[in-house]
């Protein structure tokens, strides 16, 4: 820390905050369902659809695309290589490649898209009050699509995400994306094919060392990208986040879409972060159960049909925010020396260089943070954060009062809060409670979490399970606000833990926390110092903390803020603390049952996984083969 010039950093932090400061620049929203409620869905589904394309490229039929891929130098090279290694004839390998491609490739058909446009219009109107989109973002996207190949990078919270994305792009007459989807969908016979015809292409979840598979897959994606046939869409987080926290990004596909830029095959690639915020997630209670170890229901068509009962519920609004397109060229300026690609034939697959790897990793984190920045938060998110710090329940009036206080705090930390205009706070609180009546209830003026009533006699385990479901469901809302408060909250905890108020001691604690939590939260690699400065800046700005000389101390009015922040991270701290001793004993989770469990979140498989990863990373534990 001492090596870094603090005043320079402050300027740096200030500048980055200004760049990222969403208060000034966030666009307004339009409700696209409004028009659907006032005009014919059929007409809408059948209307003329003529999107602008990348530099007027002529659209490429799915079959032609496959031929280009199969005949590419890249694939031919790998086919020969595999053939030499395996002793099989190249024809046979070629045939294998063709089969892989067949299994993978999309078959985008406008008629299917129209079918979805119709069906989803009906479904959305039943499920949601509003589907809001920032139209300026759409305009920026339209511009970007014409100029450079575009990669759409939405956040991933629900199965709905990619249908919703295509639905919106169709609505605005934008080029339909091709979407990387997990193979699991293929299990849904009819639906899998429908998705394929609406632009999904399917990739195996793991194909480790399968060279041929990787070659087909990456060449398929790159061919679409290089030629600008369609925007490419995938989820950086790799899978749906069951906790509503952003997941640390996966790099495979990002590597693939960025490489053509490094190799000079395209002038630039635009990455568009998209934040999809659900007021209520369709999978809400499923997720909590999954986190507690109830296996994820296998994707099946009949399962989907059973899920129809979902249709009778109110899921509030969806906000979709199309962020500013990020130019890979600008990002890479000065970070990656493209001429290092000059000395190797471009069609021969190569592991990315270290410089490139760290650039891609960094980029992935930045994009996920941009997604987080533009996530729309509902009042309920604030209420859930408060309720989780008061599991025994709260007076409604206290909850209301504290929610108002927290709103102010959130706004001063640049949260993207969707707070109803001109509505009295009591009304806002009560309507939030109404929408989420499955999670919290008011009785006798007290608000508390709803615990599902099981049928028949209840074992202690079942009771605990139900309680945990309710806490984890609620936590998935609190988690949505974490990215806003994370850095100041870690500082608050660091101040609380540090032996003194000396800045460098606080920093050491902060740094430890930062490191420990870097699987659980989106913390850009190498940003520890910057995050620390940002946290200081924010806490000083909001008056919670003073920094006389080399100290960091709480102000007279800082108490509520700092204690809220401590409470916010407490479940994580407790969880990690509890997991460490349980790792030593062989009956891990049982210990938790018998003990006096104050922290339900430790039961979440997500937290266990992240904590374990952190402990491994920090050399606190190591894997032993038994």
């Amino acid at each position: 820390m001492s090596t870094v010039c603090a005043s320079c950093l402050n300027i740096l932090v200030f500048v980055t905050l200004q760049q990222r400061d969403p208060m000034l620049k966030r666009d307004g929203f339009e409700d696209i369902l409004e028009e659907r409620r006032n005009s014919s869905d059929l007409k809408y589904a059948l209307r003329c659809y003529a999107p602008v394309l990348y530099k007027g490229v002529t659209p490429c039929k799915a079959n032609m695309l496959k031929n280009i891929v199969l005949q590419s130098d890249q694939l031919r090279y790998v086919i020969n290589q595999v053939s030499q290694e395996s002793g099989e004839a190249p024809d046979i390998i070629q045939e294998e490649a063709s089969v892989i491609l067949e299994e993978m490739a999309h078959r985008l058909q406008i008629s299917t898209v129209r079918f979805f446009a119709f069906a989803l219009s009906k479904a959305f109107k039943t499920l949601f009050q509003h589907v809001c989109v920032n139209e300026e973002g759409i305009q920026r996207l339209q511009q970007a699509i014409q100029e450079h190949p575009v990669v759409l990078l939405p956040s991933h919270r629900s199965y709905m995400d990619f249908l919703l994305m295509s639905y919106i792009l169709y609505t605005y007459d934008l080029a339909l994306p091709v979407i990387a989807a997990g193979m699991d969908f293929m299990g849904m016979k009819f639906v899998g094919e429908m998705l394929r015809m609406s632009g999904a292409f399917f990739i195996r979840r793991s194909f480790g060392g399968d060279k041929l598979y990787w070659a087909v897959f990456s060449e398929y994606v790159k061919t679409m990208l290089r030629n600008g046939f369609a925007p490419i869409e995938f989820f950086l987080e790799g899978t749906r986040s069951r906790t509503c926290k952003s997941l640390t990004p996966k790099l495979g596909l990002l590597n693939i879409v960025i490489e053509p830029f490094f190799k000079g095959e395209v002038f630039d690639v635009n990455l568009v972060p998209i934040s999809i915020s659900y007021e209520r997630i369709l999978e809400e209670s499923l997720y909590a159960r999954e986190l507690l170890g109830v296996p994820k229901p296998k994707e099946s068509t009949s399962g989907l049909l059973k899920a129809r009962r979902i249709l009778s519920e109110d899921y509030g609004s969806i906000h979709v925010y199309f962020g500013q397109p990020v130019s890979v060229r600008s990002l890479a300026q000065g970070k990656v020396n493209r001429s290092t690609y000059n000395l190797f034939p471009r069609h021969i697959p190569r592991k990315p260089m270290e410089e490139t790897q760290s650039f891609v990793n960094d980029t992935a984190y930045r994009i996920v943070r941009l997604q987080e920045d533009n996530m729309v938060l509902k009042p309920w998110v604030l209420m859930a954060s408060l309720l989780l710090q008061n599991l025994e329940g709260m007076e409604l009036s206290v909850l209301t009062e504290q929610t108002v206080w927290l709103r102010g705090l959130a706004l001063s930390y640049a949260a993207f809060l969707d707070w109803p205009d001109h509505a009295p706070t009591a009304k806002v609180v009560s309507s939030s409670l109404a929408l989420h009546r499955g999670l919290a209830c008011v009785s006798g003026g007290r608000v508390s979490l709803v615990v599902g009533e099981p049928l028949g006699p209840v074992t202690p385990e079942e009771a605990l399970f139900n309680r945990a479901v309710s806490v984890l469901s609620c936590a998935s809302y609190r988690n949505q606000v974490l990215h806003v408060f994370l850095r100041p909250a870690m500082l608050a905890v660091a101040m609380h833990t540090a032996a003194s108020s000396k800045k460098n001691e606080v920093y050491n604690c902060f740094s430890f926390l930062w490191d420990m939590f870097s699987n659980d939260f989106i913390l850009c690699p190498g940003d520890t110092v910057q995050d620390f400065e940002e946290a200081c800046y924010l806490l000083v700005k909001t008056g919670a903390v003073q920094m006389p000389q080399q100290d960091i101390v709480m102000t007279d009015i800082g108490q509520p803020t700092l204690s809220f922040f401590n409470g916010l991270l407490e479940p994580f701290l407790q969880g990690y603390q509890m997991l460490l001793p349980t790792l030593r004993s062989e009956h891990s989770v049982l210990c938790v049952f018998t003990g006096n469990l104050r922290c339900y979140e430790v039961l979440s498989s997500d937290m266990q996984k992240n904590a374990l990863a952190a402990l491994l990373r920090m050399d606190a534990v190591r894997k032993v083969k038994v």
């Binding site: 190799k263 000079g264 095959e265 002038f267 020396n337 493209r338 001429s339 690609y341 000059n342 034939p345 471009r346």
Partner: protein, 593 residues
């Protein structure tokens, strides 16, 4: 039948007074004083003079093209300062002892402002722009000497060493790399060593087909004189009207017809160089040697940093019996490049094969003269062409390859067929001889057009690179796009013109030549803007696998990329040669390293 009107610009010394070249050449623009483009009172473009095929012709479409392409107007003039303002030239700081000793040798010299300024620059945009604007010169040579032969040069270099005077060799003055610029930090007396009087063919050896020539000879004179004996070198860089043999050696020049004759490094058999350490030359004229690294390659491309090339023995060939131009139209640039690649693969490239992009094709159209037998043919032919064969060709996509075949008649015809057959497989259609010839005429007049542009707020420049075949298309696209983007970001108010052509084919790659121009109205410092954009374009070239230079050289303009290009060890190797040969930096133009 050469495209050029044969006119010599070199003059013999008749007395100690030197005939300055600037009497027939522009002091602040390209080429001959009598030849230039202008818009006449009717607003029509004309090319003046009598030297070129296009001379004396009216070009009715040029104004429209010019105004539409650049958003310029013939009503918005940006005229040049009419004459050199001698007060803007720093006074000569002479080394009196050197001057005294030089006088004793009888070698002519001058310290007139005009002579010094004329040799203080090449033809970079910023150099010409500054001359036109009448800007104050920071540093120009303090005097000019005109050696008449090798031994004169030896004397001058000895005196320079003795008196610690800085020498800058000057050949044709066509450098586009700031190579002739005097380093502003140079405090010694700077002497420009003008080789123009060393312009004789000393002997021709018909048995071995080599000629021994003084290095100051200008390209067109060399060809003309050899032609008189039935020979040619076949070395025809685009600058051959003005550039010198010594300059070619010093910059590793490349000629249009290198496919038949080779580049300069293939053509030279023997080089004589005067350095501060003495004279370097080989002891025999063996056609190839295994005697360690070829010392010629220290000289080739040394850009005047090691010494003065005084005499060169060079391969010659009998004048070809038959020459035929040709052209092929392709539906788009991709098809054209694919065809050139195939031609290179089959190693059947004609003497010259060049592929112009659509922008240059359109530009060529704009230079259609009003009356001329050869051009009328072309216009009519082209019309027919459009109606019949061009169907399906998008006029905003199509590109033209120009061809030049040489050899005996039968073989040329055979060769021609082979190339056209290859072209056909890439959708190429033969588009006539006239079209091809026009393409090569443009090569020589295009430099004059920059001066016209500068009269109307348009700045322009060209730059080049060489690149492996598989990256040609990507490089062209990315560089053009980078230029467009940089112009926008740097406040250029009008869409720039970016155009490229593939000018040479090799087994493993091609040479790509870019033109870049924009209307600079509204810019405070157009030259600076231009330089930043060119800088960005060069970075883009390097990032896309292109070389720092194919034939222009490095000079001072591209020095900053040398380490990246040839590694710091490589730079060290060159530096150690420099340190050995010229420890006192007598040849102090500071090019290259």
């Amino acid at each position: 039948d050469t495209v050029l009107a044969a006119a010599t610009i070199t003059m013999k010394l008749t007395s100690t007074v030197c005939f300055p070249r600037q009497e027939i050449m522009k002091w602040n623009g390209w080429g001959y004083s009598d030849s230039k483009f202008l818009f006449n009172k009717k607003g029509q473009a004309e090319f003046t003079g009598k030297r070129y095929r296009l001379s004396g012709m009216v070009l009715p479409s040029l104004q429209d093209w010019f105004e539409n392409t650049f958003g310029a107007s013939v009503n918005h003039k940006s005229p040049a300062t009419p004459a050199l303002n001698a007060s803007a030239v720093p006074p000569a700081s002479l080394n009196e002892a050197f001057v005294e000793d030089l006088k004793a040798t009888g070698i002519p010299f001058s310290h007139e402002a005009e002579d010094r300024v004329f040799r203080a620059h090449g033809h970079c945009l910023h150099e010409i722009f500054a001359l036109r604007e009448g800007k104050k010169f920071e540093r120009v040579p303090d005097m000019v000497v005109w050696p008449n032969c090798h031994s004169d040069v030896v004397k001058i270099v000895e005196l320079a060493c003795k008196h610690n005077v800085c020498l800058i060799p000057y050949g044709g003055g066509t450098s586009v790399t700031s190579a002739l610029e005097c380093p502003p930090e140079e405090t010694r007396c700077i002497v420009s060593l003008d080789t123009s009087q060393m312009n004789r063919i000393l002997w021709i050896d018909e048995k071995n087909l080599v000629a021994h020539v003084e290095a100051g000879i200008i390209g067109q004179d060399l060809e003309r004189l050899l032609n008189e004996s039935g020979y040619c070198t076949g070395h025809e860089p685009d600058s051959m009207e003005f550039s010198s043999l010594g300059g070619w050696v010093a910059t590793r020049a490349s000629g249009m017809k290198k496919n038949v004759y080779g580049n300069i490094e293939d053509l030279v058999i023997h080089i004589k160089v005067v350095t501060p350490r003495g004279v370097i030359e080989k002891s025999c004229q063996g056609p190839r040697m295994s005697t360690g690294p070829d010392i010629h390659h220290f000289i080739l491309g040394s850009e005047g940093t090691l010494g003065v090339v005084t005499e060169v023995t060079m391969k010659i060939r009998p004048i070809p019996e038959y020459q035929k131009y040709g052209s092929v139209v392709f539906p788009n640039f991709e098809a054209g490049v694919a065809c050139l690649r195939e031609v290179a693969k089959q190693r059947c490239a004609p003497a010259s094969i060049r592929l112009m992009d659509n922008e240059q094709f359109q530009f060529g159209h704009a230079l259609k003269p009003q009356v001329s037998s050869i051009f009328t043919n072309f216009v009519e032919g082209l019309k027919k062409f459009y109606i019949t064969k061009f169907k399906g060709f998008d006029p905003h996509q199509l590109v033209v390859a120009t061809l030049l075949f040489e050899g005996d008649r039968e073989r040329v015809l055979q060769h021609e067929k082979q190339v056209y057959d290859i072209a056909a497989t890439f959708g190429g259609l033969a588009a006539g001889e006239d079209n091809g010839q026009r393409g090569y005429i443009l090569t020589f007049v295009i430099a004059y057009l920059r001066d016209l542009g500068m009269d109307y707020y348009v700045v322009a420049e060209s730059f080049e690179t060489s690149v492996p075949w598989d990256r040609v298309l990507d490089l062209c696209r990315n560089v053009k796009e980078r230029i467009n983007r940089e112009c926008k970001e740097r406040g250029v108010q009008f869409q720039p013109l970016t155009s490229c052509r593939v000018t040479q084919t090799y087994d493993a790659g091609a040479c790509v030549y870019f033109y870049f121009a924009f209307n600079y109205r509204g810019l405070a410092d157009p030259v600076h803007t231009y330089e930043r954009v060119e800088h960005a374009a060069r970075e883009e070239i390097l990032a896309n696998g292109g070389s720092l230079s194919h034939h222009h050289g490095v000079g001072k303009l591209r020095k900053e990329w040398m380490k990246e290009s040839i590694s710091s060890l490589g730079v060290g190797m060159l530096q150690s040669v420099k340190d050995y040969v010229d420890p006192d930096n007598i040849f102090g133009n500071r090019n290259l390293l």
